[in-house]
Every structure is written in C-alpha cells, then in structure tokens.
Amino acid sequence: MALHARIRNYTTEFESCRLEAVSLEFGDYHPLKPITVTESKTKKMSRKGSTSSTSSSSSSSVMDPLSSVLDGTDPLSLFAATADPVTAADSTRKKRDKEDHLAVGSDFEPWSSKRGEILARYTTTEKLSIVSKVTTPGSAVSEKVRTRLEELDDLEEGSQKELLNLTQQDYINRIEELNQSLKDAWSSDQKVKALKIVIQCSKLLSDTTVIQFYPSKFVLITDILDTFGKLVYERILSMCVDSRVSLPDNFTPESINDTAKETCLNWFFKIASIRELIPRFYVEAAILKCNKFLSKTGISECLPRLTSMIRGIGDPLVAVCARAYLCRVGMEVAPHLKESLNKNFFDFLLTFKQIHGDTVQNQLVVQCVEIPLYLTLYSPAIDWILQCIAYRAPEGLLTEMMERCKKLGNNALLLNSVMSAFRAEFIAARSMDFIAMIKECDESGFPKHLLFRSLGLNLALADPPESDRLQILNEAWKVITKLKNPQDYINCAEVWVEYTCRHFTKREVNTVLADVIKHMTPDRAFEEAYPQLQSIIQKVITYFHDFSILFSVEKFLPFLDMFQKECVRVEVCKCIMEAFIKHQQESTKDPVILNALLHVCKTMHDSVNALTLEDEKRMLAALINGFIKMVSFGRDFEQQLSFYVEARSMFCNLEPVLVQLIHSVNQLAMETRKVMKGNHSRKTAAFVRACVAFCFITIPSLSSIFARLNLYLHSGQVALANQCLSQADAFFKAAVSLVPEVPKMINIDGKMRPSETFLLEFLCNFFSTLLIVPDHPEQGVLFLVRGLLNVIQDYTWEENCDDKIRIYTNVLHLLSAMTQETYIYHVDKVDSNDTLYGGDSKFLAEINKVCETVITQILDHLKTLGKDEALKRQSQLALYFFNTILAHGDLRNNKLNQLSVNLWNLAQKHGFADTKTMVKTLEYIKKRSKQPEMSHFAELALRLPLQSRT
C-alpha cells in the first residue's frame, strides 16, 4: 500500500494558521497577572485545592460552599486584631530601646566565638593532674543547714583524690564528666552536690601547674560555671512563676515572692561561707545575675566588690583570667556598668609589675616556660577585657587607655591587646604612633612580629590617613623583612599584603610579592606555609579585578610557582579562574592574560587523573569553559581558530571542554558566514572548511555517544549552512553509522536510564534535517534516508516497545514532506532535492517505494500486537498512524481512505481507546471538512463511528 501524500501549499497553510493579530487591551483582567487576594479568608481556601484558589482571583461571585463555613473570622486572629496596634507597637519599641540599653548588640563579638580559638591555641603535651573528691550519691539528702555546711567543709578539706598523669584529652574528658554530673545532680534535685561540683571545678583554676594549658582550662571550667549560673537562675525564676504568668524580662525585685527570694539569699549565704578565695569568687560571679531577684542595685553593688576581691589573688595569670570572667559575666548581665570594667583593667595595670616579679619567674623556671610564651597566655584574657571596655566606648576613653599603657613602658603585651580589642578605625588613625611604640618595645618580651600582625589586621579593616599610608608600609615592611623565622615572617606578611593591595598599585604589590618569594624559597620554607600563601593570592585577587594588571605584576606567576604541592596548586588555580569568570566583563585577547590563564588552566587540567571525582572534573571543566568563552580575537577568526586548536591539545582530558570547543568552532563558522553575508570568498570558504574539519576530527574523541550524535548533527547543519556539502554528508554518514552503537542503557547523573527516549528525540531531529540534505550525485536517491532506515531496522530494539514503529510513522512525515513541490524550509544557497529533481516522477516513485515498505512494516507490527494480545498498545499505535494519515495523506485516495477507516475501527475495537480523544478527533475532522478542498472529510467523518463505552 502506498501513501498518497497530500499536496500541500506551505505558504497558504502558514498564512491560515497564523494567529490573527489582536490589539492588546490592558484591561483589569489578565491571565498572567499575579493573583492578588484581597480577602484574608481566601488564604484558607487555597489550602483546599488549586481549583478554588485560581477561581478566587477572577470569579469572586462563585461562592465556595466550604469557605462560607469559615466565613466567621478566626477567633485567634480576631483576638489579635483587637489588641490596640498603637500600644503594641509602642511597647515593642520601648522594649527594643531597653534592650539596646540593657543588652549588648550583635556587633559585640561573643565569648562563644573566642572559646574555640583559645582551646585550639593553648594546648599542651604535658601530663596534667586533677584533684577531685568522689562524691557519693545521696550524700546531700540531709536537711539541716548545719550538716550542709559541714559537707561543704568536708569537700574542702576532706578525702580528696588526686588523679595524676592525665593527658590533655583525658583532662578535658574529666572536666566534661564533671559538667555532666553537675547537670545530673541538679536534675535529681541534689543542689548541694551540684554546688560542691562547681566549687571543686573552680578550685582547679587556682592551680597553675602546666601553665601553658591554663587559658584552655579557664575556658573549660568557666563553661561549667556558666551552666551552673544558668541552672540557678532558671530555678529561682521558675519559683516566681506560680500563677502560670511568666515574669517579664525586666521584672522588679518587688514582684518576686518570698520563697524565691529566700532561696536566692540562701545561695548567696552559702557561697559567702566558702573558705577559699578563688572558688568563692568564681561561684559568686557565676550567679551574679541572681542579684536581680533581691534588689535593683544588687548587681551594681556586687560588681565593684567582686572586682576588688580579685586583688587578693596573687598569681597574675589567675587574677587576669578571673577579671576576664567577671567582665564576661558583667557584660552579659549589666553591660551598662562600665566603671567596673575599667576598674578591672586599671587594677590589672597596677599589678602588672608582678609578671616580672620573682614569684612568677621562679615558677617559669620550674616549668621551663619562656617569657615570650608565658606572655601570650595573657592575651585571651586581656583581649577580652579590652574588648568589653572598647565596646561602644567614647574616643576619649580609648585615648586614656592608650596613655596608661604607654606609661607602663610601652609594654608589648598590652599594646597587642589594645590593637586587637580597640576599633580598627581608632588604631588606623594612629598607625604611626603605634609603629613608633612597637619599635620602642623591648625585644626580650612579647614577640614583635605578633604586634605587627595585629596592626596589619587593623589596617586591613580601616584606612589610615592618606598622607601616612606609604610611610606606614615602609616602616612596617622594614621590620617584617628582617624576620628570620619563615613562619613568623609569613604570618606577618600575609596580613600586610591586604593593606598593600588596598592602598597601593601593582608596583608595591610586586615588591611585596618578590620579598615573600625571597623569604620563602630558601630551604623550601613555602611547604610549611601553604595556607598563608594561598590567602595572599586570594587577597591579591580580591583587590585586582583587572587581570591585565594582575598578570603584569611580574612576580605573580613566580609566586604561583611556589605552590608545588599539586592539590594546593589546583586550589589556587581554581580561585584565580573563579575570580576571572566573576570579574572579567568583556572578552579579551590580551596575550599576557591568555598566556597566564592558559598556564593556569593547564595546571588544573593536568591534575585530572583516573581518581579524580566526577564533580571535581565537572567543576574544573566549567572553569575552563568559562575562560574559553571569554577569549575573543574579534575579527581575527584565524587567530581564534588556532587558539581553539591549541586549547584542544591542552585540555583533551576534559570532555565538557572539548564539547565547548566544538560549539565554539561551529559558532565561529557561523560568524564567518554572517560576516560574509552567506557568500563565502575562496579564503573564507577554506577557513570554514578548516572549522568543519576541526569538528570532524574532534567529535570521535568524545566518549558520550549522544554528545557525539548531537554534535555530528549540529556540525553537519553548520557545514550545510556554509555550503560544505560533502563535509555535511560526511557528518551525517558518521551519525548514521554511529546509531547502531547506541547502548540500551546510558548513564545519566550516575543513574542507568533507558536510552530510547533520547534516541527517538535524536532521530526525529535528524529526519527534519535530512529533508533538506541534497542527494549525493554519486550515491542513489535518498541515500541517507535509506541508510538510516536500514540502521533502524537492524537496531536491536527493546522487547515490547513500539518506538521503532513510532519512528517509522515519523519517517512517513518526512517522506510526505519530501514529495512536495517546494519544501517547507531551505538552507540559503543550498539546493535541496525539490530543486534538484524538480518533482521528477522517478524520484517520487522511489519515495513511494520506501513508503510502501514502511507502511507494510507498520501494519505487520499492528497485526503482531493483535496476536500478542497487547491490545492497548495496538489501539494507541493505530490511532497514531491514523493521525499521521489524516495530517499527511491524501484521503481522496480510496485505498488510503479505507485504510484510515480500518485504523479508526482498530483503535476502538477492544475498548482501549480514550473516548475523549476520539470525540475530539472526530470534531477536528468535521471542522476541517468546512475548509475549501476538504469536503471529502465530511464524507470520511460519516464513515467513522464512535463507539460508546458500555
């Protein structure tokens, strides 16, 4: 049976199909306008389903029966609405004002962010010991106050056990155990035991053996104290909430009931009777907040008393930590009480001379700790105290503090803390003074490079006065460059690079980089400093967005050479490429940039090996692609092509890059065509052929089969557009011969998926192209189509699948299009078969022969399906085929007409047809029959019965 294709006039069809131009009125209603819901209750309605929500926007007249039930306003929202909005707003504002006053803002760096840093920094490998008493559970059940106090004494003097030779980790675990047992004791209502544990813990703070661990110990133990303070506070607070009305945050002591007050007082009395000074201080400081229950002025009276109490602590390190804790608690509970903060600092200054006293020195000798190391132990505490003081402090106060520090002979330790605690702007404005002071410091004590580092950190955040800038850099670098130890040097230099990049040009940056290289190269010191070097690169990149300037910094590439460990090197390259992609606005052809970046990309590419993760590869490829896309030589297309050739040779291991290159070259070819307005000169024709050749030899090196197929097709189209007919043929032939290799399953994003849908999609696309490909003069008619059909025929299709038949049906579309006098589309300057054959009857006969074969295949398949009882599939396929005939066949042909009627009946035969579709189809036929020359459709419609589904 032959398909008698309907003669079609594409132009008129197109005209008739085109939508009528309707002037657009910008009325109220527009389907795409965002739905604005005016009634609050519609929000609830929307939950019931999408239908009601869409209808609510346009047709509010349709009342949803369910929504009417909910018409009454929600009782909760009603209640909320009645609350006077003015007073509510007013009260919240007042509250906020108060909070501003009573609490520290978010600009205050909290302790929690410091503690981790301290724990990581102050460690030890020495053995530690812990003094503890194994408290027996249930020892605290006695009621009498007397016995309680005796127990407390017992704990102090009584049977204590010393755990010796603990490693640092054991020690930390032990303290964590104590923390846990504190919580357990508390939750099992053994308050006295809990207090004992806390006392025991705070006692550990008076022990300064293994002094280099002391700051960490301080952090761990104050955590426990914080827990304890919170537990006590919450317990007393819970006693105040009798009538289920919780207290407001800013309650007054008058609103506290007697029981709560008594309990609170009891705690304070108990703590006041602790014999030893340090536990007494810490435990009282821990529950400082509870003073709020007793009197309004409690905290403001307690803080100065506790502050002066610290004077009794002899060891300066223990004392300064105690001060830091008091400041910490003070800032939390009453940040407005600044005086005691200042007092703490001044007291510290008064006792400062103790550090160099005999007692401390003897201790250091015993523990074999050097003075510079010992001094750094003070930093966390002093930093914290100064941070508390400097928080929102007036300029005058800071100046005063600085003067006081100066009086103590420019002590480096203090100077460092001042620099790390005070506002960067403040420091930056006085940079020259600070440099002078740093210079005056004595060498023996606190390490000077730390001072310069601190100063550098400040300058990275705030700008010094314009006039001083260069001098600051010179002065600072003079000292930094003299540092002998590479680690000290790089820590300093890392910080100062940011300042240099911020305020100076590439010349200075170049000098700095050169200096770093000079320092880090001997003995391969850079191997120990990769993180710092990496951060230097990062800083340079952040400040130099213009890559032409960046790469003209002579020492930049030599600097990169210091990254010799591959993973670090690749990381750095990635950073550079990311920055380039982010900041490079327009495409470039600057040879400096290209050279440098090719080098960088090459490094990234070369890191790929068999073990590289997929994700990593994808990321690298994306970065390289980003670079390739940014390269443009403008009208110099040949240069561009040779760049792509070079890139191909460099990045052959990354498939996505090759794909990108092929696309780029194709684009280049099309660009050429555009420039030549379709008329290639001899020279451009040769160039275009070179492009096509590039693609043709690159595609086979890809491993993904669909990438190859699509690229063949795509490149073929490009070749065709550029009148390279034989090359296009080659592409299409390659694609055809590749189809049999398509596996049944392919890997998509790590999952195995059947490939048929992809193949179907590709083949349809391919057919559309084949329509316009002119036949090769030496090959037979429809050489490519036949070839493709053979391949499809031989391809091993999935069992129980109709894809092959679907493709055949689609082939019919192609074939009917081929029989038209003028094809639906053309490639400019390429004569397709319509022109070549001019509707030659031999040609048409050939097409008809192919048609016949295909139709036979389809019908055979339909029969087989009928035998196999796969009736649903049969029905679908029959309808699909019917639609094809309807669209493309000339139904005036009796045979075809009969075939279509048969197919119609077949589709309905076993009741698997979708009635709605059938009705719609019939309606369509009837509608078509009203068009001119389509009267035979009316007749057809009469012959198509509709089967009711009963």
């Binding site: 014999r275 000074l277 009794g312 060891d315 103790q354 007692t359």
Partner: protein, 279 residues
C-alpha cells in the same frame, strides 16, 4: 504508712520578731480517713547551755550540763479527737510571740556552748494501734533592730612580726609589714564586715591571708563563769603572693544562725594569719 504531717510556716524565711504573730498551716495528707485522739501544736523556746570541758573539767562537763532555760512554751489544741477526711487537710494556726513576765525573746543562735532555739511541734495522738505522729519545725527569732544609730568605730591595725602572739622564736620569722583598717569594730549582724588590708612588704612569698571569725561564749553556772572562744568561720581573702602595696578588701558575711548580736556576747577578732611560717 499513709498519713503524713507537715507544718508550713507562712513566712518563707521563718524569721519572726517579738510581738509578731506566727502563722501557718498544719498539713495532713492521707489516703484514708484518719482517726485520732486530738491534734495539738506546741511552741517552745529554750536556751541550752553546755559547759566546756576546758573550764570545768571533763567529768562535770559530761554530767553537769546546765538545765535548759525555757523562754517560751505554749500549747494549742488544734483539733478535738475525731476523724479527718482522706486527702489533704490544712489546718491554719496563729501564735502570738509574747513572753510572760520579765523574760526576753533572745535571738536564735546556734553556738557551741550556747544554743538558743525555737521550735514548733505538732502532735497527733492516736489510738493504741497506731503510733502518735509528731512533726517539729524550727523557726527563727530575730530581736528588733537596734534602736538608735550605731556609731561606726573604725580601727586601723598594723601587723609585724613583733605584734604576733604565741610565737616561740621571733627571730626566725621573715620580716613583713601589713597595714589595714576595719570600717567598724562593732557591726550590725546582717551587714558584712568590711575593711582593707595592704601588704606593705614581706620578705617571703605569701601563700594565703585568712580572716577568722571568733565568738566568745560565756556561761554562768554554779562555779562562776565559763568563757570560751571558738572559730565560727575562716575566710581566705588572699591567695598566693599578692601584689605589694595594693589594698586588698576585707569582707565577710556573718553566717546566719551562728552569729547573734552581742548579748551573751560575741566578739570578733581579725587574724591576719601569715602562713609564711607554715612551710
């Protein structure tokens, strides 16, 4: 089991003054109904004196404890014999704190040789088969705040090796000089003791400076008076080698119950104990 007796005094801190009314509730909780022979409430206040072995000798101290002096004793019949329903029963009560004759309500005090204690006892008498139930509860009496302003009497002190007592070989002591002052030598019991102390110089490293609160109790008995000084509490005010020339605060909260205003007398003594000689 089942029946529990408890006394709840209205004031949380249990502190009352002379002339006030002590009020509260007796709480009886039981699963079943309680048969009883009457519930009574007794308020007692007594001074217990104990003779110290040092002043009168071991033997006498053991046998001759002085008879307690009763200050107050009154009993109240709360419920006549009968039945109480199951569940929780609260019976409120009120006791006026008044003394008969010329007796004085002394402040509650727990000392070593002198004890002044006030208790509230609730007794539930029951039939022969069940035990009587008793519950006692201490309450605290404070004397009225002293009338008239207490004149503060500040005192300065200096401690050197020369001022120390009980030292055998004065020459062996390292040299030191400690100055200081107390804000007042007679203090209000509810207020802490305050002052300052400066270590002007000290040859040896200081380990600790402690403040000792000492009481002196005097008991009158047949043989005359017995005076005894005992430690109430010891508070460390300095730990380690403190900075020279820097005033260190002296601060001590008087423990409740263990101190009372000078009546039988308590006295303070500040012991600036240098522990140089301890090592």
């Amino acid at each position: 089991m089942g029946t529990a007796l408890d006394i709840k005094i209205k004031r949380a801190n249990k502190v009352y003054h002379c002339g006030e009314v002590l009020s509260g509730v007796v709480v009886i909780t039981s699963k079943d109904t309680v048969q009883h022979q009457g519930i009574s409430l007794t308020m007692e206040g007594a001074v217990n004196l104990q003779l110290s072995a040092k002043s009168v000798g071991m033997f006498e101290a053991f046998y001759n404890s002085v008879k307690p002096i009763q200050i107050i004793n009154s009993t109240l019949e709360m419920v006549k014999p009968g039945k109480l329903p199951s569940g929780k029963t609260e019976i409120p009560f009120e006791f006026p704190l008044l003394v008969k004759g010329n007796k004085v309500l002394y402040e509650t005090y727990h000392g070593v040789f002198v004890n002044i204690q006030y208790t509230l006892r609730c007794d539930m008498r029951r039939s022969l088969l069940a035990k009587d139930l008793t519950k006692a509860c201490e309450f605290i009496v404070h004397s009225q705040p002293q009338k008239g302003k207490l004149m503060p009497s500040p005192v300065d002190f200096t401690i050197t090796p020369e001022t120390l007592q009980n030292v055998k070989e004065r020459a062996l002591l390292p040299k030191f000089l400690i100055r200081g002052h107390l804000n007042s030598t007679n203090c209000i019991v509810t207020q802490p003791l305050m002052g300052e102390l400066v270590v002007e110089n000290a040859e040896a490293a200081i380990k600790s400076i402690e403040l000792q609160l000492v009481r002196v109790e005097t008991c009158g008995c047949a043989e005359g008076y017995a005076r005894d000084a005992t430690e109430i509490q010891n508070i460390q005010i300095a730990d380690g080698d403190v900075c020279r020339g820097l005033p260190i605060p002296v601060y001590m909260v008087f423990p409740r119950l263990f101190t009372c205003p000078t009546l039988e007398t308590t006295n303070f003594k500040v012991g600036g104990q240098d522990t140089d000689d301890r090592h």
